[in-house]
Assembly symmetry: C2
Homo-oligomer: 235 residues x 2
DNA sequence: CCCCTTGTTTGCGTTTTCGCAAAGTGCAGG
DNA sequence: CCTGCACTTTGCGAAAACGCAAACAAGGGG
């Protein structure tokens, strides 16, 4: 895939939190070194265990980042949304990618050579702070999920996961908020640490209560308040 | 508690990974702004929800960082070991501390005003990279725990947690490797997302198998290989 | 030195969730 | 239009872990 395949829309990038308060000149210099790349649905940006040769920014589309455990079980680490930085293994002092990034829909990413990372960070203090906040938020999310996994039963965890997806990747439709990329019950199970079967049972039950509408690789939140009550039954 | 209470041993700090490759002058300048503080056993460095006024480095001792969920359950986020940076809420773009840091044993911390964070990061690119790696490793650890929580049954999770503690905070003794600070079954339960009762049962069972030796707020790993076999039953 | 608080052990019934199995069903490609 | 794969649903028995309850230490404070 060649750089020419896609043009980088700098104006689109300028407004990302990651580049906030960066000097236009520095940003332009940075973008000049970037390589855009189109990834077909189901295609890989990088694979778990591969040498981390580049870090990326998702411009358009949606990625699922998964890890496979030594004993063969799969876990979904996170969903990458447009504007997110990902694959920054260097920042974790790792030589390889800890997970696999797969395009849930046709996506456009821009990549930089991983060797640039340190220099980029050293020469762009403002970017360094922003990148740190990005990683910090990632850490915060991980802690949130850990807290949920530690203290909440499966139903609440799944409700939280679905609500988060709707918020981050929802598209308003007549019936409600539709998750804007193909997602399977298996995916949701891998996000919440449960099984395909349990997720299916829950969604069926919710559907009969009019909270959601399901379908093959589809999910629409019909009654977000109702779901939120399941997720957080205080009141 | 006054700064005079404790003297900062700069030579001790110089070798920390966090300050690696930093210019001595910059390090000296940094340490000049630091406030050392002694924390008694059971004392708090900061409390969940409080305004994040400072970030810290643990020089000596051991801290437990916990969070309380809205419905009152407690989770142990992590154990802070000497040399660890903690309480860097600013890096997460948070105005408050997400957890409570309590001294498991008498500890010595040094703190910097949180307002210094951005300047420190901007003016010390080398430190910025190191700090990012620190946060990155924290993220890695969180993902490891998430993976464990998602895919492993309780016994394996507890075994992993105990082995990690022994590695990070173990002191060699005649009987084996002793966890070097007071730790309760409840603590271990909060680290692994289970209950006090289940942990107690497991440790009892392991003790009868000669893998560990327990006691009130005490834990000694007698047979690390045996425990590792429980943690990772491949082979 | 004793008492009381805090932590630990253990039994038992109950609940949640899993795991297996088998039967539907939507959709893409031929 | 047909066919097959991938995804989904659902039932049922089994297992893991929880939650309650109650008894039992250990060690610090009076």
């Amino acid at each position: 895939m060649k750089a020419q395949d896609v043009a980088i829309d700098v104006s689109q990038v300028r407004n990302l939190p990651l580049f906030r308060q960066m000097e236009p000149a520095a940003l332009a210099r940075l973008m000049a070194r970037a390589t855009p790349r189109r990834v077909a649905q189901g295609g890989l940006v990088f694979e778990q265990g591969a040498e981390a040769v580049a870090f990326y920014l998702l411009l358009h589309g949606r990625l699922k980042v998964t890890q496979v455990t030594p004993d063969g079980q799969q876990v979904m680490v996170r969903v990458v949304h447009p504007g997110d930085l990902f694959g920054f293994a260097r920042a974790l002092a790792r030589p390889d990618y800890p997970g696999t990034a797969r395009a849930a829909v046709e996506s456009i990413v821009v990549g930089w050579p991983m060797a640039d990372w340190d220099a980029v960070v050293e020469n762009n203090p403002r970017l360094a702070i922003n990148a740190m906040q990005t990683i910090g938020q990632r850490l915060d999310e991980a802690h949130t999920r850990l807290r949920e996994m530690s203290t909440q039963e499966v139903e609440r965890r799944v409700a939280h996961a679905v609500l988060r997806l709707a918020e981050k990747a929802g598209r308003i439709e007549a019936a409600g908020t539709r998750i804007d990329f193909p997602i399977t019950r298996q995916d949701i199970a891998e996000m919440t640490g449960t099984t395909l079967h349990t997720v299916s049972r829950l969604l069926s039950s919710w559907e009969s209560q009019g909270l959601v509408e399901g379908g093959r690789q589809k999910l629409t939140v019909v009654d977000a308040e109702g779901l939120a009550r399941i997720a957080d039954p205080e009141d």
